[in-house]
Amino acid sequence: MGLPLTISELVVPGGKGRVLLSLPKLELPAGALVGVRGPSGAGKSTLLYALAGLLEAEGSIRWGETELLRLGAERRTRFRADNIGMIFQDFLLFEELDAGANAALTALFRPRRERAAMRLRASKRLSALGLGDHAGRHVSSFSGGERQRVAIARAMAAEAPVLLADEPTASLDRASADRLIDDLVHLARDSGTTLIAVSHDRHLTDRMDRVLTITDGALLGDEATAA
């Protein structure tokens, strides 16, 4: 089950007195699918990284009962490991490892007793994404769509209640992107995961429950979609 998000008075400073992002209030229910759009450099990725606890910020970011900005660096990292899966535009896989090892990457720093279960889940995710027969193949031989599927399997291997995706379809051709959107939306809905996806791709944002529009570091639009 996903986590609800409550943001209040969030300010992400950018140094020299600049403000990268300012978000006075935002509430998302658990299991919501939310798109974030806006021009390049508007602060979309900044929002995503702040939600992951990767940026220093003022105000409050509350995931469920956890006040993220109050946690120290290592506790934030642990929170991320347990609760947040991340997907990136250029996949960020380890090219030297096979698909199975990439999907189960986070098992390497899990306690020994959890590793086998984690690997099993990663393998199931790969199968659900149609890559079950290719788990032993090196990802360097994969197409863009296949790589992003491996990245999704990796993000969901820990059964994290939150999935943050940064332009997940931007490096894919239209057909691959559409298939990936289908898979991502189904997986998120089936597992009740809260999904926040930054994207320029209308095909993706149209499938979300809500779409936020960010311009110049401020939230200018928050609309429900027909999905």
Binding site: F79, D82, L92, E96
Partner: protein, 437 residues
Amino acid sequence: MSDLWYSLPALAQDIALTFALLLPALLVGALVLRGFAPWPLTRAILWRFRGASVMFVLLIAISVGMGIGLLAQERGLRRGTAQAADKFDLVVSAPGSELSVMLAAVFLQPTDMPLLDGATYDEIASHENVSVAAPLAFGDSYGDAPVIGTTAEFARDLADDRIEGRMWQASDEALAGALVPLGVGESFTPAHGHGDAAEGDAHGDAHLQIVGRMAPTGTPWDRAILLPVEAVWEVHGLANGHAPERAGQIGPPFDPDYFPGTPAVVVRAEALWANYALRSEFTRDRETMAFFPGAVLAGLYAVLGDIRQVMSLMALVTQGLVAASVLLGLFILSRLFRRQIALLRALGAPARFVFAVVWSFGAALLVAGAGLGLLTGVAAASVLSRVVTARTDILVTAPIGWSEIHFLAGFVSLTLLLSLLPAAVVLRQQVVDGLRA
């Protein structure tokens, strides 16, 4: 505690010291890696940067190998020279430089030496504590081989009684050292002097025949031709050490009145303690000088010991520099895999895991380099030994000893500790900057 340490056998001490030197690295490794399995990622990073990794490993291996090889070689040389002097308990000669006489008598380096007369020789040979007193007569040569006159007893002792053919029985017979290019049955005419200055026809009417070949001794004597000291005196037109009515005699006792002189006498005492008594007895101002070649060598090693320390220090500094360049390389490489590190952090990898990945990458390079360096060192020491043996005829073997193992263990330990630095620096990089790089 120190009593316990000294009560241990040497091998146990060596093993314990190696372990103690490695202990910091083992502890750090255990602490850094505890609870994590970074090896798949370490392997992936090693494979991604395989060219640079191989270069680093080779760099470390060559520097470690050279250090180890030189240290082993230096010890091998000491051992070889000491072994060469083994058969020369006590040498008596005219006063002068002990080092020159030792180089001449033990290592057969040509030098001009004053002679001891018959009376002096007789006094030595007839001393109650002396069991062997062999005159050594240098000065002639055949090709590259020095021709040395001495007694059958000393020649036999030198070859440990392993002589192919037979011992000489007349003054026109000789024994060849193991490396002399003359076979049993062949004849030769000794030249007066050595090398370019040798006068080839000075002893034109002397024809000597090789009747035996000595087993290899691993000393410069392997290249020498030994003959009865009487033969040396005779070819120089001198009396042959025996009164006319006993002119055919070969070997001691010699008649002092017919003894033309000898530059050095190798003395063996009846008992070990007697050597010391003989040394003080025959150390006389302006008459004779008696010394232990082993002690002269020990003195030489003491002087060279400082050089050994300098060499060890230089080897350490070189290794330190290589380690520093490897660390610098790790810094640079860590910039290259900055995105992967940022990704791991973004996926929730604890700082210590990232630290473990970067450290184990450096550790793999250092340990592989040190291991390969050990093999390189063994190979380098063996090649150097062969070269030195071929050039000096002193049999030098340089197996890797515990001091080299300790040196290596210290190097590995220190560099593994130092490679914590690049690992720590990697952690200071901003995750978001790394993801956007």
